[in-house]
């Protein structure tokens, strides 16, 4: 079978197609990388290499003007708190739904299913007044509570996973006299580790990308996250491509690095999530 692979024209065609696709994927980022290092006097050709890749002037200006480190700090803070909430509440909910029998279980499951159907952004018209009523408008806790409360996909990731943990483990722990809380904390929670890892990666990327929730609930400049700070900067500095490319690059790097190191978990998370539907 494999003796013909080398001269197979179909095989060549596959490489041609893949290389063309790679070109399309890499073309926009290439232009950004090259121009992020260019000064205004380096000509109009967007493809030309910069005089020096050690010229960090654009980055310096952009970081200063947007207070970018501050925005990164806000973003990390929001991500950290949301993830803690998601993991703690998600595992607790999955423990109840996956391990304990109680009246109204179907109803609770149905309620969470309904929540996944309603697109979050359509209800913002009303959620906005809820956030104001809670006194969280223009506070970092507004997105945190929305990322914990309004996006419930973690429940499904955990539920799918908890079913594969053998119930005998719970039983033998009970035999040893462990309380239910202890079983949750020392048996279930650690064994849900891989699901937690997947959740943390996917949620981090989602929250890092989120634009509208921070835009709507935190208009105050000091509360900017990376998404809102690049938006503000780009609309105030139209067509200053050197600067805009520099800020694009700075904002893209963290998730790209995360991806290159953790690609295995990301791929398995995406595939499992999709097969479940």
């Amino acid at each position: 079978m494999s003796k013909s692979v080398r001269r197979d024209p179909v095989q060549w065609l596959k490489y041609v197609v893949l290389l063309f696709a790679s070109f399309i994927v890499l073309f926009p980022p290439y232009v950004v990388v090259v121009n992020a290092f260019k000064q205004g006097n380096e000509g109009n050709d967007p493809f030309a290499l910069p005089h020096s890749f050690l010229n960090f002037d654009n980055f310096r200006v952009v970081i200063e003007r947007t207070h970018l480190w501050h925005s990164f700090g806000n973003t990390v803070y929001i991500i950290a708190l949301s993830l803690i909430g998601n993991v703690v509440l998600g595992t607790m909910m999955a423990y109840c739904l996956g391990r304990l029998e109680f009246k109204g279980k179907k109803l609770v499951l149905g309620a969470f299913l309904f929540a996944t159907i309603v697109p979050t952004i359509t209800t913002q018209v009303v959620v906005f007044s809820v956030i104001k009523w809670m006194g969280l408008y223009n506070s970092l806790y507004a997105p945190v509570i929305l990322f914990i409360g309004a996006d419930v996909i973690q429940i499904y990731i955990y539920l799918q996973f908890i079913r594969n943990i053998p119930y005998e483990l719970d039983e033998s722990a009970m035999m040893d006299g462990a309380s239910l809380f202890r079983i949750y904390r020392s048996v279930i929670f650690p064994l849900l580790g891989p699901a937690t890892a997947t959740l943390i990666i996917l949620k981090t990327i989602n929250i890092y990308n989120e634009l509208y929730i921070p835009f709507l609930y935190m208009p105050k400049t000091s509360l900017a996250v990376v998404s809102t700070s690049i938006m503000r900067f780009a609309s105030n500095n139209q067509a200053e491509w050197g600067y805009i490319c520099a800020i694009i690059l700075l904002i893209m790097i963290p998730t790209v690095v995360l991806y290159l190191f953790l690609q295995r978990y990301i791929f398995s998370g995406v595939t499992n999530g999709a097969v479940k539907g």
Partner: protein
Amino acid sequence: MNGLSYQAQKRIILLCFMSIPLALLALFTFYPAVKLVWMSFTDWDGLEANPTWIGFANFVEVFTNRDLFGVFLNQIPYAVVGIVQNAIAIVFAVILNSKLRGRNGFRVLMFLPFIMNAVAVAFMFQYVFDTTNGSLNILLGAIGLDSLSKTSWLGNTSLVNFSLASISMWRFLGYNMVIYLGALQSIPADMYEAAEIDGAGRWQKLIRLTLPNMTKIIQLNMFLTLSGALAVFDLPFVLTKGGPAGSSETFLFKTINTAFQFNNFGLASAMSVVLLLIVVVVLGLQNLVIGRGGRDA
């Protein structure tokens, strides 16, 4: 807690573990959904405590005002490009599922756009699509397509939605591809071996074996594409602000503006309800189609 019976413990655990998640669910999903429906029958301005009941007037406005319901026409390009995107994603999944050197590298590369920050990607393409300095027009000029190289990709009313949709294609194609690849890899290898023994060629294996095994995931992705096209918001919001001349406005974009720019929360609620119902209908159709497909197979 050790002194208590398991029955008592269970009650305490259920109460402690579920009360916060359920309270959040009620506060951020159920209450808003109910209030949304209620407010869609009023002239609520977002502040007033007791808005006036105006019956179906908001819904009449949604369906009769061409400026409101008509913007769905702007979203057709997203659906069209989305379908093309799925087709291409399947082709690449099939290619990367075959014996090929460096296929993992290609997979990593093609998925890369998906994990890039969405807003940064939008501005990256603003540069690509810029009329005078944009890299796309300069590239087109360089390969001799001078007539195309003056195109205003984001400023032309009939092009703008295709340009925006192609940005989301750039971002999501690799994501779809990885999902299809996962589905392909779950087709048992012995089915292919059996087909080869029966003398099936490459093409026959693709048409008779691979694609039929992927129907369910293809349908699922198509519906996701469709509901995605219905709820487009970010790209026009960031890049065009709905312009030029309102040609890239989407229904959700209009809804958000109606509420937060014009303080007409009653009308915006009605628009949200309409969009919600359309999404629910699409999801219902999805379950019907996929459920039936599953039983036939």
